[in-house]
Symmetry: C2
Subunit: 274 residues, 2 copies
């Protein structure tokens, strides 16, 4: 089954476009958990979040930085977290990798084969040719950074490049590459609704968009859903990380994460139907 | 001591601008070593390369992909490799990371604090604001991708953006940021000598350039040295990876690596003086 088909299936089954970002920064975890478990707190934190939220999401996104910052034990916890996520859900490696071809091959192997992620984010600066080794994994999704959610995204992504902004140059190149490989998507921040609308128009129906930046980054959820989905209200993955997983710092953190995720999932469903 | 001062000191002491890239892809290691040691071959390979070359270089660059592809044990070997490199030499994490600020902080902590690298490569697509957490480590070097060595670099980096190519927009922004933080450098492939000359003119005397792409990628070594160094013939780091470490596939691989490194070091010295 292609990545896109899997995404459609799980989104329909769970009635959800919500992705929870397991940006489980050890420094921000509930203190009681850190005191009890030390460095292993990240794994226990993730497990409890997954326990209470897995029926509300289509995907989990793991930001590699927060595992890498703990060194090899952090990556062991990433492996155990991936094992713990129900198999039907999509797992996304948010690593934003991008290197020359021979190195991209090693990254793709690491993420898709060693860790077994279903999808990953990649950076287009080196040109799409450099990302070919990722595109070759037909059953995995490759989300190219297009318009990122941060304020500083403007600096280069908005530069007018031969008649159109850089992010649009990237989007157009990605659409072309997608016609060949069929497994591409784009990352577009919910913080930029007008650009999101433009990019969905450009990609047409069949390309999934990964949309971070709701919640703590204050992107507009309604527009993210309305502009980000295709005409059937599908193929958008709406990500919230800190707004869900750090909804409470107390012993009730997992229940609070569920409540925050449920609110978001319902709000997304309301916007899809509205 | 600032990163730049350290780089100058070790380059002068060893009479070398050469950096060896420990792109120690397990699939390309000498077969006898893999048969003998299995997954641990990477560490033994690195140790023997370091044994025979450490007096010929100013730096070692570790391409993170080739450690990550082995999972947590690969990162353990990266740690042990770093421990094995003589302390006076510069260690560069070639990870090309780039993410929004809160995530960049975690990557910077991972690379500079957890692993203790002296420098790293970063990707500018998200804007330099997103890289601020790296710039805050005043004693570490941050090399921003500017003009990468691969052929596909042209696709976006050459786009004419508001009067100048994107790579030049990146270089100019980096020069400005360097005036504040003092620890920036740029990555410019030896495969693009004209762009290298332009970028050295733009950065002036004080900014180090990391120059990959000689050797297997067939960049022009003489121009890399002449255009890449400042007026004193310094502050360029000329990297060769596969051309040195895979100079022989036999039991003599470490001696062959030394011979290849010595030729390169001497050729670089000849060009600096020429």
């Amino acid at each position: 089954m292609s990545f896109k088909e899997r995404l459609l299936e799980v989104s329909r089954r769970n009635g959800s476009l919500l992705c929870i970002g397991l940006d489980s920064d050890i420094e921000r975890l509930p203190q009681f958990l850190r005191q009890e478990l030390g460095g292993r707190a990240v794994l226990e934190f993730n497990r409890r979040i997954i326990d209470t939220t897995h029926d509300l999401v289509c995907a989990y996104k793991l930001n590699l930085a927060f595992y890498e910052q703990l060194g090899p034990p952090g990556l062991e916890m990433m492996v155990e977290t991936l094992d713990y996520i129900p198999k039907e859900l999509i797992t996304i490696a948010d690593g934003k990798r991008g290197d020359i071809g021979s190195t991209s091959r090693a990254y793709a192997q690491a993420l898709f084969e060693h860790y077994g992620f279903d999808a990953t984010t990649v950076n287009p600066y080196l040109g799409l040719e450099a990302l070919e080794p990722f595109f070759e994994y037909e059953d995995r999704g490759v989300f190219i950074l297009c318009r990122t959610s941060n304020l500083g995204a403007r600096e280069f992504q908005d530069l007018e490049c031969e008649g159109k902004p850089l992010y649009r140059q990237v989007a157009e190149a990605a659409v072309q590459a997608h016609e060949r490989s069929g497994n591409l998507g784009l990352v577009v921040g919910a913080t930029w609704p007008e650009e999101l609308r433009e990019i969905r128009e450009l990609t047409g129906e069949g390309m999934p968009l990964l949309i971070p930046g709701i919640g703590r980054q204050a992107g507009d959820l309604e527009k993210a859903v309305r502009y980000g989905t295709n005409s059937r209200g599908e193929l958008a993955i709406i990500n919230s990380s800190r707004g869900v997983i750090f909804a409470s710092e107390g012993e009730d953190f997992a229940a609070a994460a569920r409540a925050a995720a449920e609110r978001l999932r319902d709000e997304i469903e309301r916007c899809r139907r509205g």
